[in-house]
Amino acid sequence: MKLLYFAWVRERVGKGEEVVEPPAGVATVADLMTWLAGRGEEYAFAFENPKVIRAAINRTHVKASAPIAGAKEVAFFPPMTGG
């Protein structure tokens, strides 16, 4: 699946996008954040406080409890500050 990062999540991870294949057992957005946090220092920093990070699956806002099965594109970002 394709992952996208925006704003300070992107800066901390050090890239805007990547393709990953999470292992079986990574079922929800929250699981995915936990798994990502274990992939290295920069990921641990980006996902140190998962409660403040928002997510979208296939370009629609979702909660951390949302299942990621079938997701083509998952995005992580801080709370929005547009307008």
């Binding site: 925006f6 704003a7 979208a56 370009r59 806002h61 970002f77 929005m80 500050t81 547009g82 307008g83």
Partner: protein, 158 residues
């Protein structure tokens, strides 16, 4: 209902956008035009510039969802939303919402609803250039409160 949603780095002309919505129409009795403009200070701290990052593809889709929602709530005759991205300096336009309806109450309410949703749900992020460096703007709880008032009882129960 004609709806136009554009994301662009270039400036917009609010009066021209409103004129496009009403041209040739005699059923429109009210047009509300809201422009959000880049300020030179935030909470007392000077801001030299801001850069708006967005999620291409999702931003358009997300805004289209609020426009559809607005259409179910008010009898609108036209909506135009333009949101800029990239680096902006104080005085620059950031966002434009134009709503047209037969009567002003619907146009005012829909414009406010759309702005409240843009602030809290459209995937845009502001980074400000301040004297002590660049910082990502924190989401304001007042914006969340403003958006929450539009949640219906049905939605809150879900």
């Amino acid at each position: 209902m004609p709806a136009t949603i554009r994301l662009q780095s270039s400036d917009f002309d609010a009066a021209a956008e409103a004129a496009v919505l009403t041209r040739g129409r005699t059923d429109i009795g009210a047009v509300v035009t809201f422009s959000g403009i880049c300020r030179s200070s935030e909470a007392g701290a000077p801001v030299a510039a801001m850069t708006l990052e967005h999620y291409p593809g999702m931003a358009e889709a997300e805004i289209a969802r609020y426009v559809e929602e607005a259409e179910t709530r008010w009898p609108l005759l036209g909506v135009t939303i333009v949101h800029r991205y990239g680096r902006l300096v104080p005085g620059d336009n950031i966002v434009l919402v134009v709503t047209a309806a037969s009567h002003r109450g619907d146009a005012f309410a829909a414009a406010e609803f759309l702005m409240d949703y843009l602030k809290t749900r459209a995937p845009f992020w502001k980074r400000e250039e301040r004297p002590d460096g660049t910082v990502w703007v924190d989401a304001k709880s007042t914006d969340a409160t403003a958006a929450d008032r539009w949640i219906t009882r049905r939605q809150a129960a879900e």
